[in-house]
Amino acid sequence: MKIGVCFKIVPDYETLLAEEWENPNQLDFTYAKKMYGCFDEAALEMGLRMADSLKAAGQTAETVAVTCGAPEGAVSESLLRALFAAGYDDVVLLPACESFVSRNTAKSLASYFTEHPVDLILTGRMVGPGDSGMVPAYLAGELGAELYPEAVSASWNDAESRAEITCKEAGFLKQYAVSSGAVCTVGDAEASYLRLFPLKARMEAKKRVFSEYEPEKADFAGEEPILRMEKTEAECSFLEYKSAEETAGFLLGVLKGETE
C-alpha cells in the first residue's frame, strides 16, 4: 500500500516580534522559527503509523511526503530531512503557489498524485489558524476521490484486508473502511507530533536526495487580500505580587464573587 502525506512548513508566527504585525504589507517571516503546519505534523505521523501497522501484518508499505513549496521564507532543510530520518521513503518538493490561492496548491498536488498514484492521501485539516483549509477538499475534487474529514487515527486491518480510519465528527467517533485513493484530513489526532528518531537516522538522512516534481501549471486567479492588524481589546492591569498566599486569597475571593 502506498501512502501519500501532504504537508507544509510554515513560520511559527508566535516567535515573531510583536512589532512585525504593525506593518502588514511588509511582513518579514524569515527570522521566525519554522515548523510543520501543526495538523500536517499529525498527518505525517499518522502516515508512518499506518505504514507500521501494514508492516506488522507483513504487508508492504511505501510512504511519500509531498509539499508544495516553502512559502514566506519558511524553507527548512532540516525539517524536510527529518522526514527521511523519521521513516519516509520519499520526500517530494513541488514549486510554491501563491499563498492565498488554495485551488492552485490543490491542482499542483493533484497533478503529482495523478502521475504517481497512492492508495491513501493524508493531509492536515488546515495548515494553521488563518489558512483556508480548502486544499484537501479541492484536492479530492480534482482527483475525483472521496474526502474523509477529521481523522484521528488510521490503521491496517489485516483480517479484512483494508485500511481503516477513525474520524471525529460532530460529537461522534466514526470508523470507516477507506476507499482507495481517498483524501483524509487529519484533525485532533491521537498522536500530534512526528516521532523521535536517533542521531544515526538523522546522519543517514543527510545523504538522501529529495525528489522534485514540476506540476501542470495551475492558474486560478486570486487577488491578494487586504491585510490589517487586529485590534486588541483588553488593557491589562498588573496586580502587585507580595506572596503566593495573598494572591491565592485574592483569586479565591474573585472565584467566590467576594472580591471585585
Partner: protein
C-alpha cells in the same frame, strides 16, 4: 469581465456543515472562503473578512458573484450583520444546506458517541491550564482544584497534545470559546489561537512568570508569579476551609 454581485452561498454551522460547504464548492469548482467573520466594503468592492496568520491579522478577501462563504457556528453572532449588509447591497445569501446534503463518506463501519465531560463554553468559572504547569500531574491538581471550587477546567492545545488532558478541554480556535464570568489562566502564554477563545471571558486573570508573556497584553488582570506556587497556596487555603 466580472459578474455583477447577485448571490453568495453561505454555509453556517459546525464541522459537518463546513465540510459539506467545502465539498460542495470543490465539486462545483467555486471559490470558497472559510472562517468568514464578516462582510466589508473596501476599494468599492465587497470583501469577506477572516483572521489570518494565526489570527494576528485581519484579511479582507475580494468576493465574486457565486462564491461560497463558510461561517463557523462559534462565530454565529456575525451572521445578523452579514445578512443586513447583503440585503442592503441587494445580494441574496443562499443557505448552502438547501443546495446539498451533509457529506457522508462511504464505508462507515462503526459509530460511537463521544461523551463530553463538560461544556466549557457554558461554564461560569474556568481555571485554564497551560504548558507552564510543567507536568500532567500538576494539570491534574488544577483539575482537582477546579472541581472543589465548582469551576470548570480548560487547557491549551499543547496540553491536550501532550496527553495531559482530553481535546474537549481545549480552549481557543480549535476548541471552546469561553463566555465565563471569570477565567484564571495558569502558565498560559496567550498565543493568538488560544486568545480567540479565552477573551470571551468577561474577566481574564493571567498568572505567568514571564512579565513579557503575550497574555499580559490581552487579559484584564496580570500576576507575574510562579503558577505552581499559586496553585499550592490555593490548594492549602481550600484545604483549610474544609
Amino acid at each position: 469581465m466580472m459578474n455583477k454581485m447577485e448571490c453568495l452561498t453561505l454555509f453556517c454551522g459546525g464541522l459537518e456543515v463546513q465540510t459539506a460547504g467545502k465539498v460542495y464548492a470543490a465539486a462545483k469548482g467555486l471559490t470558497c472562503h472559510t472562517d468568514i467573520i464578516g462582510l466589508e466594503m473596501a476599494d468599492g468592492k465587497l470583501h469577506g473578512k477572516r483572521k489570518l496568520y494565526s489570527t494576528h491579522l485581519d484579511g479582507l478577501f475580494p468576493l465574486e458573484n457565486g462564491d461560497v462563504l463558510i461561517l463557523d457556528e462559534k462565530k454565529k453572532d456575525c451572521l445578523e450583520e452579514m445578512a443586513a449588509m447583503a440585503t442592503q447591497l441587494g445580494i441574496t445569501l443562499t443557505d448552502g444546506m438547501s443546495l446539498t446534503a451533509v457529506h457522508e463518506p462511504s464505508g462507515l463501519l462503526h459509530t460511537e458517541e463521544i461523551v463530553k465531560t463538560e461544556d466549557l463554553s457554558a461554564a461560569k468559572l474556568v481555571l485554564l491550564g497551560g504548558k507552564g504547569l510543567g507536568t500532567k500531574a500538576n494539570f491534574e491538581r488544577l483539575e482537582a482544584l477546579a472541581e472543589k471550587l465548582g469551576a470548570s477546567c480548560g487547557c491549551t492545545r499543547p496540553v491536550a497534545m501532550a496527553g495531559w488532558a482530553s481535546y474537549d478541554k481545549v480552549v481557543g480556535l480549535s476548541g471552546s470559546i469561553l463566555g465565563a464570568d471569570v477565567c484564571i489562566a495558569f502558565g498560559v502564554s496567550g498565543a493568538a489561537p488560544l486568545m480567540a477563545g479565552a477573551t470571551g471571558a468577561k474577566r481574564l486573570i493571567a498568572v505567568n512568570n514571564d512579565p513579557k508573556a503575550q497574555i499580559f497584553g490581552r487579559c484584564s488582570e496580570g500576576i507575574v508569579a510562579d503558577c505552581l506556587e499559586i496553585l499550592t497556596a490555593l490548594e492549602q487555603q481550600i484545604e483549610q476551609e474544609v
